[in-house]
Symmetry: C2
């Protein structure tokens, strides 16, 4: 997949209209890329948008207009999906720590399914539904016994807060079947994230489907939905290679023509968040100061780890650089810089020894591959800098979709004692 | 310093009045602990409160009422200090990436000093002040040539985005002295954070003062202020020992009677943030689910890394546990748990194999040592869970000082396109 970057003119338009720093997402390219996937992928697979990657309402709405359902994992994400126009019958609700109030809202909305992550949660859902004289569709999240291969954050085969251990489902079948307020319509088996080798995804998918088949057998009826998760990765760093999505889809289609058709009647959900958004968004920051310290050139920008913690990989100190460009000066001659943000800590370094053209105060720096896990995954209140602006390009026009915070926003909910 | 924890009754009162999760800070003990320091410390030292550790207005106000000045590092923190009642003549403004709009506000307010972190910033301050026909007090932040000892995040002796290299100040003295809109009233030399051995702080202080003396000499007049930073550490983990603050203060007082009196006429600022707040605050969460997965007991709470990223040390996965207590069940018999939050990622694990009493749904869990670098240093928008409530105990009464976010708060500033 091509990594998008805006032109110098677009970046300058965004900064002059909406200020700096700003996240800029290209919805046109996001939805085109989705179209490419959709037209190749067999109809048995439905794609759901994982809001956790980028919960902007306008982006969610754009995917809704392409027909995607939504995977949400909190009340806020649920309301976001609804505001984006997604009908509740196309929303599934996952997450290991759902509150009773969240379950009640989900039950009232009659979602496509609540994905239950424990027997206790199943019992809550059943009881709450019975109290309302309802039967709620649930999917069981399974913590499979096989170990996933190739993931940065593997989730299967280990003790986990997620899902019900495969062996527990089998042991507790009678208890599950006795619950009168729920109808188990399927399974959710998510084994990891950021896979860059399609063979890992295929191998995991085969294992997921085998696990699902075994569980379906003991339930004794055909599930309507098997959610096989997603985890399609995006290469952020120089030593990473792109996911071969053509081969991935072709092999997924082979599975759908073979094992799937033979063993399942329902639909298969693939959850995609990062893969649909990361490559088509950038963070635009502005250089506030250039300084030399003991032979090292620092470009100090107005947005660092406080608004893009993901760029340092949650590792405290940046180890590998995200791709970054100087959009103001785009000559080929480069110099090496440390790029830092506005915080008073050495950990606020987002790139080390990165080669960019000679930079000066006022230059616009773009961090590419920033469309997923941006501000919402960052400590935006740190030192009071607040949420940056979010801007989209849709039908080639630029729109502000999230106003930046000012100090009044950050202080509004405090009461002085 | 004693680690504070609330009683079971207080915790239950807070949760029942203001919900869960909530941060709870004991201002009475914070200010008592400050009093202990203040009464021991020589008058030459003034303590400034570093808002970055905990920018809650009510906490800032409590320290203001004890006479502390404020060290701020953004427009929001500056306005917070003013709202807390701190006069601008007791505020200094630090930070490597100050925006022009922030400098203008600071100049208009006639702060005690703007701490300039580069020659470029000095020139901006001077020009902006000249345009307003003002002379602005500045302190120069110096990146010293000596290497600090004993810090988790050392800042001296290396290329850094902070301050002006010691050798550069000397080379550029004429340029600095030619600036007509500023008056250099002092120096700021901050060399690191989280020192737990007082001898490191003393050694660094001696080095800082020697550096300051050399620079004062070349400026040719007595500085009014030397800011020696802070970095007084708090032991979070089992293998860490407490800072010997009695010896630290006694040795600081010896310095003030000797080297300080001989060489300086002005006052010395010590910046304290974490040390004044961390031990006197807790995060209260509630267990939403207890589950067993393959022999491991998980307590899934309603607040994890999304509201307390600091508890995993910015390291992605928790390596060492913060002290945590079950306040509902406080028997001596314990079991081992993984304590996790509500996020859909295995990294949302805040404690591993921690021994706490048998826990059940509804139990209140307290993470101690959580008074500093809590919600503002965490990705509070992640998965849409929002900012938790903040509650203080002041004069033995409980007050809500920051309402929790709901989904409407999180969505308010979005525009749907």
């Amino acid at each position: 997949m091509k990594t998008w970057q805006p032109t110098k003119e677009t970046a300058e338009d965004v900064i002059s209209a909406f200020g700096s720093p700003s996240y800029l997402y290209n919805i046109d390219i996001m939805t085109e890329s989705y179209n490419d996937i959709r037209k190749r992928l067999a109809n048995e697979y439905e794609i759901f948008y994982s809001l956790k990657a980028n919960p902007n309402i306008s982006i969610t709405k754009a995917f809704h207009e392409k027909g995607l359902g939504a995977e949400v994992s909190s009340r806020t994400e649920l309301e976001t999906a609804l505001l984006a126009g997604i009908p509740s019958q196309k929303i599934i609700f996952v997450g290991p720590g759902k509150k009773i109030s969240e379950l009640e809202r989900a039950i009232d909305l009659n979602l496509l399914a609540i994905v239950a992550e424990s027997l206790e949660e199943l019992e809550y859902i059943s009881q709450l539904s019975e109290d309302k004289n309802l039967i709620t569709r649930v999917m069981l999240r399974i913590n499979p016994s096989f170990e996933a291969s190739g993931s940065a954050l593997a989730m299967g085969g280990k003790p986990r807060q997620f899902g019900i251990d495969e062996e527990t489902v089998i042991l507790e079948l009678d208890r599950i079947k006795s619950l009168r307020g729920i109808s188990v319509i399927g399974l959710h088996i998510y084994v990891g994230t950021r896979f860059l080798d399609h063979r890992d995804i295929i191998r995991n998918t085969e294992n997921i489907l085998k696990t699902a088949y075994e569980i379906q057998k003991i339930f004794g009826y055909s599930f309507q939905i098997i959610d096989i998760g997603g985890g399609w990765g995006v290469p952020y760093f120089e030593n990473e290679t792109e996911l071969d999505v053509i081969s991935l889809i072709s092999e997924l289609n082979q599975i759908s023509n073979g094992y799937l058709k033979e063993n399942f009647k329902g639909k298969i959900i693939i959850e995609l968040g990062r893969y649909l958004t990361a490559s088509h968004g950038v963070l635009l920051t502005t250089v506030n100061y250039i300084k030399n310290s003991r032979g090292v050139k620092f470009a100090i920008t107005d947005g660092g780890t406080n608004i893009q913690l993901g760029a340092v990989g949650l590792g405290g100190f940046v180890k590998r650089n995200f791709p970054m460009k100087n959009l103001t000066n785009d000559t080929k001659l480069t110099e090496e810089y440390y790029i830092t943000g506005p915080l008073c800590t050495p950990t606020d370094t987002v790139a080390k020894n990165i080669a960019i053209p000679a930079s000066k105060q006022g230059d616009v720096i773009a961090t590419l591959l920033s469309g997923a896990y941006g501000p919402t995954a960052s400590p935006i209140y740190f030192l009071g800098h607040g949420y940056p602006a979010e801007v989209i390009i849709k039908k080639n026009l630029i729109h502000l979709v999230r106003e930046r915070d000012n100090h009044e926003d950050l202080l509004r909910k405090q009461k002085i004692i």
